[in-house]
Symmetry: C2
Subunit: 222 residues, 2 copies
């Protein structure tokens, strides 16, 4: 038997996505489930970061993951190996998730025993930024090989996130990535954003990231 | 004075994008302008590849570049330095270009003296794959740090391209990228695709890529 379910997400029928997102957050508050929406370009390391995150937190909170993808179950297989509860969401070609689609995913995952739920959004720096998923907080990953100029080109994504993980810092010597310039571009768009440099592969920075999550989950349940 | 114009692209009003795309190709054929649509994730090296491409071909053909971005003029500045004709297109938040938007860009660029026009599409592996821009050929870049599993997750993009550049092969030793697995995934989706490993930074593979373009431009004008 497979270790996870694959759910074909249907297009949302709601006209007012923001209202649906607020309703979803109210439900999550009641259930004491903290939902994080994780976004990035394709290949920036969302799934590897999730693996490291689960390893750091699985003994202190019950974690559930929704892996959204246009196609394939590659990521759900990877996450299932960590022992976390996981569901694969197929968006049927759609480039983002809105609150209605996220709600379908949460119903498929089952949140009654989940303290920390994560939506791994479709790899895309454009469309997911435009839709409130109903998550409590938005996180994004920018990886070193992508370059420090990305905040200039995809400003909305960097503006709506609460935390930015700068991933793959272990390969910094092989790329022309200026971390200080990146921080300047990002904080100009979003002065309150938390920026955490990490390497999901080596584990560098994962402690700080896990602490950030602990704090959010605690605040959400207080 | 700036070396390039910035054009705010308007939403297309055409109902049938495929018909508009065919009409645009007919016009390009009459004008003997070969249009290439270049797509990829954010940060895979489209602009650096274009710089290397222009350097290889500028003495034998007249090149014009349309830099499409949600925001910023970073890429147009970079391309202007090569001496190629360039225009910056702002999509106003839109995640892709269709044929009507490409036509606006070509009118802004002016194609009467251009043999080889390139549309650098918005960095996105999802939405641009769904819209025929009117280009003669579609090219995409997958960079080594993104991982060899991307064809499984973004199958449509890999299916509609005529050529795939696997970029940043100079950093292959620092990543778990399996080129043979990548080729298998891609050719299963698209048996006729041409795959060219390159490093836009070191110049490796650019000769083969330039030859592919020469052949396409020749065929288009014959």
């Amino acid at each position: 038997m497979d270790k996870f379910r694959v759910l074909e997400i249907k297009k949302s029928v709601f006209e007012n996505n923001d209202r649906e997102a607020d309703k979803l957050r109210e439900e999550l508050k009641k259930e004491k489930t903290f939902l994080l929406n994780l976004m990035s370009s394709p290949g920036s390391g969302k799934t590897t970061t999730l693996k490291a995150t689960i390893a750091a937190l699985k003994d202190e909170m019950r974690i559930g993951v929704m892996e959204a993808d246009i196609d394939s179950d590659v990521d759900a297989h990877t996450i299932a190996e960590t022992g976390a509860k996981v569901i694969q969401l197929h968006t049927g070609g759609m480039c983002h998730l809105d609150a209605g689609m996220t709600k379908q995913g949460l119903e498929g995952l089952g949140t009654e025993n989940i303290d920390f739920a994560i939506l791994e959004n479709v790899g895309n720096l454009v469309c997911p930024a435009e839709f409130d998923t109903g998550a409590v907080k938005n996180a994004m990953i920018l990886s070193v090989p992508e370059g420090h100029d990305k905040p200039l080109k995809y400003p909305l994504m960097f503006s709506i996130c609460d935390v930015l993980l700068v991933n793959k810092i272990d390969v910094m010597p092989y790329f022309d990535f200026d971390l200080e310039a990146c921080k300047l571009y990002v904080t100009k768009l979003n002065p309150n954003i938390k920026i955490i440099p990490i390497s999901a592969r080596t584990g560098e920075g994962i402690d700080e990231w896990a602490n950030w999550i602990r704090e959010q989950v605690k605040q959400w349940n207080s």
